[in-house]
Symmetry: D2
Subunit: 481 residues, 4 copies
């Protein structure tokens, strides 16, 4: 239940390379629909028709930005890429929407990525010192410069990407489209997911999550390896593995807990099953006598089912989420402030009245929303409310693509478990343990990054803080010339 | 799963009468959000500020029609009413949106209703024979004429409503706002729900469903009785019971099966629990060996949980529904046609692969969508698919406010159970029995109308067919003068 | 120069009846473009396809309300009518836009008119006393009721119109479209213009002004006579002359001075030439030594040319009007207030610098705009500014379709000629005389209504005041039942 | 009358530097309104608030792109710049709209210009060879790179502009805004106008035309000299004259004939008077007996007045131009094709019927529109139509900012005078002579570029052709890497 709190997923990327010219724009459109949960701020599509790239991007959800005319205006082609970007009230600018489409010495280039380049500021300064100009503040423009500069000394665009990756630090699942090639690359740590599929007509697609493949009827082939560069041209796929230094990716564990869609399979593990297991682990480590287990929609539902299965306590539908509350929803004001949660989430009194309730949520950030939800349950007659959280407490920032609140806002940084329990008005409160969260994904294929829980990251972290501060810094570095 | 088939819920109504002037428009706005599932075609709000009624209505969802400026333009007042109207591709006209706001000899009048007046055509002719003009084709305009004509011989607006009800046949849950009064009335059969609540500040509200009360923090008081007229003025509520001939309403059983929101309580019975019970009954009457029970989102989920509980077969999350597929969604064309369902609904392969699956849906109309969904499950590896439907087969039209397909389109009118089973590709297919559907609502308070399943209706039915045909008739009756 | 003052033209009407079904909507669209100057508040088109009338109307200019999709949605047909409505900040409501489309006992009816029914309030009360309901506050709905009620006792729709006209008082140029007929009628006084034309394909059109005929290549046939009812059906035109009591219309003289487009010909007189003559008369009766004659765009230009011709003083282009200042123009605030006029109107310094200037405007209402314009001229170096007004002073209200300011706002009611001259900062000020204004239209075909200048009207005037007050009265007459 | 033919004015620029923070965005808004005639494709505003630049730009007219919210979102500041861009059906892309706002090593930079950089392609290649990336295809991005690169070796932004100008060839009236400075520069030839003014509060403004100064009440100070760089900071203005090699600008003579607004004064000469003189010259060199002289609105009106004055033949208003035909105007189709001109332009029959008419237009490009207009006059009864054109025939391309048709489309390149006269159906046709067009601007301050008439240009011209071809070239130069 993160609607009004400060966790933002990063982005979702998608690319397609068919063997004949067709309506690739629609394919990207449907794929972006499936990836919409990864970013609701802005989106864009770039279509490549024999080397000429036409694109459109804007603030808004996929269905808001693209109507039939808009989609048709992108024309046909063999290749296309698309992007959804995360929602934030901060630096939401149209010129930061992606894909970024630029022209350089070797022709046009379209790029988009999911992740966070930790040395973006240094790289940017380096280019600026050479006279480079930047139109926006997103990392993608830095990546574009790295590639176009590398291209001057490389024989091919993939060679340029390979070269550029020596300079890039941090997390990136990158999709690049040149006049003739579709290229996908994943950082050597493998923070963010990226997978390959084949369309029904034999083309290739790359996507942040496998659910995007399903949406267009494409078959999952495999995940892109950490550090791997995949090059698709003329129906052929090849792989550059120079940067494949880690055998296994250290994938962000929060992808399984919250970010990814349950029907996606990441590194061989079903996200849905990972959440079921999180619930099962919670049931085993933090049992409590109760009459019903309910989940906070949508991301707490799977874990609640898992808890129910492992504990034998019946699973119940505790809340109805209003499916029509969209971006344009007018926030309740003054008097109705307290009812804010109630409009989005209504308690099923029949399910909780007179019951001891176990409520599963995927995380607690500031605690205010949890407090409101617990209160709703009590008002509906719940005699006890035991909160179980399907992830460990957030205590550290993420440098690799998830925009968690600042430390001073994170309740787990300020308050003890007991205090939080009291703050949110619960009868008991327990988190999933670190050991358990590392086991939720049933896969041997990968390790995890769980730095947000532990403060231990799989690579060096930057000294400057969060992305938003970085952006501020860029705006403030004006030398008033 | 009725997205692309031809069952349309009717409408949702809401009215509020506060004791002091305040932002009643926002209250209606939030209430309509909660009632949005009852009608997605159009919506409207009328605000009464000391006898002056300002209104706005248009095609679209609540959040599309009302932005902050639009809402603010309605001003403040003590009273307001609102309406959501069902979605159809047929006679969708802005001038049919409600509330209807008219001026008559005694001042302004705003009206909206949920239901279907079966003698609307005759009434309309009667007025036309007197020189009356009609702007639209909806029943509400006929009701308005009845009331304004009755008003000429009545002392009060409620007297006029009482008088008008002698002429009205069919189903109606009606809300009327005059310069000084808020009036709610329900037809003597009681086909459609209508309830009364109190706001936190002591005002009164009336709503189609109790979930609308919850959304604004109002307390449920009681259902309006069949035939009852409730009059609210200056903080006082009174009741006119002249038409209260039936002790119990014959409420539409399909409200429990599909139409109403699970968190609503109608005639004392929880809709959610009714659906759980439907699933339990199915489990008892139509058991089958299987590994997992899944529901078709959203309305099949509760019944699936009920089936699981009663059968002991594990409940599973079989599908992920894309929450972002809205009205503006661009339909897939040509090539992608077969994938249409897939974009809205993705199977959780991990849940069904290699499993014998029981799939619960609330109804089968034409069968085409069911066939596609069964196919999705098989493609995902389900070894068996047993379909259980939480209502009896549709075999008859509804004259009282639900727009079911024509008989020739209803698969149950054309095909036997076995044939349907084969058509949709299931291993077995069973429906809830008539006896069982009549028991799903755990209440002594009401009887049911189940004419769509039985052909037996609690009152006389008109000879002309469906509402859409009625509208056609109006348009065709031109005498080419 | 009436941009920010309170004279509003009424409306423009148009109707077309072709012999075969075609894109009549586009023809109306282009005709409304030509009539746009008669009303910028709202517009609408109704198309008749074999008796089925489809319509759309909304607030906004023709090009804002109708895009290609909207126009296409109206379909094809043999007949159509359209309307533009005047701009006011007062009771601008979408439901007051026209054409009004209603259904009555004999089928559908679409109506629109230009004018003002002086006994609308009484008629409305009469219908309300019979139970009638009204959706809006415009006169057209009253006319519709009159016709539909008369229709009950008439053999034909034209018979009903004929009968209705016995009850209608005031000014109306009316267009009515029934399932099979297009009917145009003009009040017996003939306040507002209405003419007949033939299209290139042999169909008939009726329009407020002949410029609408030109815009679609139709040929002018003749004016509709005062009191005449013209009926067009199946390519035949017939005339009902029961109400033709006046030989000549008393047409509003302000149509020639300001309202009509210069390229229109009304009652045989060119509007452009009428304005030239107004200028010539001014030159003869109010000569002054000067170096240049300029007009205030757009309506003062022709009179300035006439003044120049008659006086021999060179005609000059004194102002450039910004052609891009549209409805959505953001009004300058605070600081820039004084510059308001300057943005819309820039002085050509080269033309007036060091010159004695005669400036012709068509009227002075409040005087504030005139004062600003005179100041602009002086700032640009004009040594003398002599203002000549091509109409007599406004001293009385108009009851017949022009919304002039209230008397207390009219500068000519409060101040002497000398005072006004001083108020606006002119060196001299003269108005066109009453005798002269009656001679500006070079035609024997008509008399004039010049009640706004004289207080003498060609028929009885109502006791209640302006239309806006009438509307207020309707809203206030609530009996709080 | 260039509505549907292929002459496009280039752009309009504006910049303001006030001494205190205020609503500079509104000032730019009103100034762009006054410059709208220089470009209707797109527009944009960038506001500088203490070094932080916020901007918005989009396709559309000023009033379409900027509503009050949009304008308010730009905030307050001391400095701002704005731009309007020309209308073309070709490469109309949102990302080509201006001002261009970029970030470089020394902070933010906003730029916009009017003109055409003839060596843009070579410069672009040079930067691309260094790894530069380009987002759009407009010249401004090349200028930005030149400045940011020069900035690395300059002490100041104005030094960088000075340095950059050594590389820039062609026509440019440039406005640059850095964190602290507003800079205006004009190419050493001085093709396009650029002037300086002072606001009422003592700030400075720069604008393409003086009419923009008038619109906000600013006083004209002087024109920017050819080659001059004007730097405004903290209320001080200074001038860098390194590039001031030409004493007089060679200003585009077509600015006087057609592009500029009549109320602008360029290089000391009134545009309105220049057009009057063009008409006078025509009257002297190409007299003809006639009854009336009329102009084609809007740009032919002044010359017609001049012709009338010099010839003694009465000036008449021959056409009424529909002021409401805007960008969104739906083009007439099929049947109505021939009437296309008629909707925009109606003949005043009263003025031309039975008359020998002299019709003045500012230019003839393809001849098709002229033919239609002549036909309109004949249909309205003109007995003779003598066409006089207030500029010499177009026979050569413009490399300096006006997008004239390709040679094969220019009628004067293909046909003799007599043939053209016949083509357009005139009784006689004459053009203004080269000698005369060079004298229309009554000023000693400047020479002219009249290359479009003569093929002689005041500087070297590029080998590649028009701008649109250049853009195509960029798109085609893909090396398909």
């Amino acid at each position: 239940m993160h609607d009004d709190i400060k966790i933002k997923e990063e982005c979702g990327v998608f690319g397609i390379a068919e063997n004949t010219s067709c309506d690739v724009a629609s394919q990207v459109y449907f794929a972006l629909y499936a990836l919409q949960h990864r970013g609701q701020e802005s989106c864009g599509i770039a279509v490549n028709d024999r080397g000429v790239i036409t694109h459109y991007r804007d603030l808004g959800l996929v269905y808001e930005v693209f109507n039939p005319e808009r989609l048709a205006s992108l024309g046909s082609g063999k290749m296309a890429i698309g992007h959804v970007r995360y929602s934030t009230t901060g630096n939401v600018k149209r010129h930061n929407a992606q894909p970024l489409v630029v022209k350089h010495i070797k022709g046009p280039l379209a790029l988009c990525h999911n992740g966070n380049i930790t040395n973006a500021y240094e790289l940017r300064r380096r280019f600026e010192m050479n006279g480079a100009i930047f139109h926006g503040t997103n990392d993608t423009e830095v990546i574009a410069y790295l590639i176009t500069n590398a291209r001057l000394e490389s024989d091919s665009i993939e060679g340029a990407v390979e070269k550029a990756m020596y300079d890039l630090k941090g997390a990136y699942s990158l999709v690049v489209m040149s006049a003739q090639k579709l290229i996908a690359a994943r950082d050597p740590i493998g923070f963010r997911p990226l997978c390959i599929g084949r369309t029904q007509s034999g083309g290739y697609v790359v996507a942040s999550e496998s659910c995007a493949l399903d949406s267009i009827g494409a078959k999952f082939v495999r995940d892109v390896d950490p550090g791997e560069i995949v090059v698709i041209k003329d129906g052929e796929i090849k792989s550059i593995r120079t940067h494949c230094v880690n055998k296994k990716p250290h994938i962000c564990v929060f992808e399984y807990v919250y970010i990814a869609r349950p029907d996606s399979v990441i590194e061989g593990a079903s996200v849905h099953e990972a959440r079921l297991r999180a619930g099962e682990f919670l049931a085993k480590s933090h049992p409590v006598e109760a009459d019903v287990v309910i989940g906070v929609p949508d991301s707490g539902l799977d874990a609640a089912l898992g808890y129910s299965r492992a504990s034998g306590i019946p699973y119940g539908v505790g809340f109805i989420k209003n499916r029509y509350v969209g971006r344009s929803f007018i926030q309740p004001t003054q008097v109705m402030r307290d009812n804010a949660v109630r409009i989005k989430l209504n308690v099923l009194k029949a399910v909780v009245d007179g019951k001891r309730v176990i409520m599963i949520d995927d995380s607690i950030v500031r605690g205010t929303t949890s407090a409101r939800i617990v209160k709703l349950l009590r008002n509906a007659g719940a005699t006890e409310v035991h909160v179980r959280v399907s992830s460990p407490p957030f205590t550290n920032p993420c440098y690799f693509g998830v925009d968690i609140d600042s430390k001073e806002k994170l309740i787990a940084c300020r308050r003890t478990l007991d205090e939080i329990c009291k703050d949110i008005g619960a009868d008991s409160l327990e988190y999933l343990s670190l050991e358990d969260v590392r086991k939720i994904a049933d896969t041997e294929n990968c390790d995890f990054c769980d730095g947000c829980f532990t403060g231990d990251y799989p690579c060096e972290v930057p000294k400057q803080m969060s992305k938003s501060k970085f952006e501020t810094k860029i705006q403030e570095q004006l030398e008033f010339n």
